[in-house]
Symmetry: C2
Subunit: 178 residues, 2 copies
C-alpha cells in the first residue's frame, strides 16, 4: 500500500453527463508554481474519472471540519448509482464546466493539463485558472487556515489542524552542525 503521513481532504468536482458530481479525495497536492498547477489521483473506474476526461476541466473544493458528514458521504456513494448534485449548491466560474461547491470555503477551478496513467489510478494534473474563496475565510486577501478549518486525512480518519510548530524558512536558522 502507498503511504503518506497526512493529506488534505478535498472534493473533486466534475460534470458527468452535464450534471455536477463531487468525489471525496485525499491524494491531491500542488504540482507546479509557474504556471500554478495541482494534481489529484482518481481511480479509473470512478464516475469522476469520466467527467474529468469528458470536459477536460475539474475543481478541487476544500471543505471545513463542520462539513465532514457531507464530505464523507461523497466518498461512500458513487455518482453512477446516486445523484450527488444536490449535496452541495453548485456554481460555475470561468471554465463553465467545472462545478464549484458553494458551501466549501475554497474552490480551485482547473483546466486539465495532462493525465498520467499510473495503473489503478490516473494522476490528473490541472492548471489553476481561478481560486474562489469565501470572504469570511480570508485574511489580507489570502485563504487563512484558522478560518477555513480544513480537514486532514490520515489512516482512514479525519483530523483537524493542530498547534503551530514552527515557521518555514525560519526555524532552520537555529540549526547547528552535529
Amino acid at each position: 500500500m502507498p503511504y503518506m503521513s497526512v493529506m488534505p481532504t478535498v472534493l473533486v468536482g466534475s460534470n458527468v453527463n452535464g450534471r455536477p458530481n463531487y468525489m471525496t479525495a485525499a491524494w491531491a497536492t500542488v504540482a507546479c508554481m509557474v504556471p500554478p498547477m495541482i494534481c489529484v489521483a482518481v481511480n479509473k473506474e470512478r464516475f469522476t474519472a469520466q467527467g474529468i476526461l469528458e470536459n477536460k476541466t475539474f475543481s478541487l473544493n476544500i471543505p471545513s471540519v463542520n462539513q465532514i458528514i457531507e464530505t464523507d458521504h461523497c466518498g461512500l456513494v458513487s455518482g453512477a448509482r446516486q445523484d450527488k448534485s444536490g449535496v452541495f449548491q453548485s456554481f460555475y466560474g470561468m471554465l463553465k464546466t467545472a462545478p464549484l461547491a458553494k458551501e466549501c470555503p475554497v474552490n480551485i477551478e482547473c483546466r486539465l493539463f495532462t493525465s498520467v496513467d499510473c495503473g489503478s489510478h490516473m494522476l490528473h494534473i490541472g492548471e489553476v485558472v481561478e481560486i474562489h474563496a469565501d470572504k469570511s475565510c480570508l485574511t489580507d486577501g489570502k485563504p487563512d487556515i484558522t478560518r477555513i478549518n480544513p480537514v486532514i486525512y490520515a489512516q482512514s480518519t479525519y483530523f483537524g489542524v493542530g498547534k503551530e510548530a514552527g515557521k518555514a524558512f525560519s526555524s532552520g536558522k537555529n540549526y547547528k552542525k552535529r
Copy 2:
C-alpha cells in the same frame, strides 16, 4: 499562486554526485494504489532535481515535529552550496541509490516511474518499492500517526496534527438529504 489547504512536510532524499542530499518539500501525495506510487513536485533548478534524474531513484522521508529545525534547514540551504549529507544519518535499502534518513520515523523508497514537466517544476512520480519504519512508530505493524507526530505544512507554517474529527467511510452514513 497554487493553493492547497494542508500538505505533508517531507524530506526528498537523493544521491547527487554520489552523496546523499535532503530537500524539504510539501508538494507530495499518493499517485496510485496498484502499483503503489507517490509523487513530489521539485523545482527544476534544485540540486535534488539533478539527483532524481541521475539515479532514477529517490526517497520521501517523514520527519517528526521534534525534527523541525533539521527539516527546515534542508529547505533553507541548497546542496549545491552546502553539503547536507551530515544533517541526517543515511542508510540505503533495496535500490542502493536512494538515501534514507535514519532519524525520520518513516522512509519511502521509490523508483522513478516518470517525470512530468509542468513548467517551473517537474512532478516526479515514483513507484514505492519499500517502506521503512521505526518500530516505535508502529501499531499492529502499520505506521501510526499519533506515534509519528508528523509535520503539516500550510501558509509557510508548520503545524502538528489536531484532534480526530471523524472516521472516513463512516461519518457520511449520517448524511440526510436536504
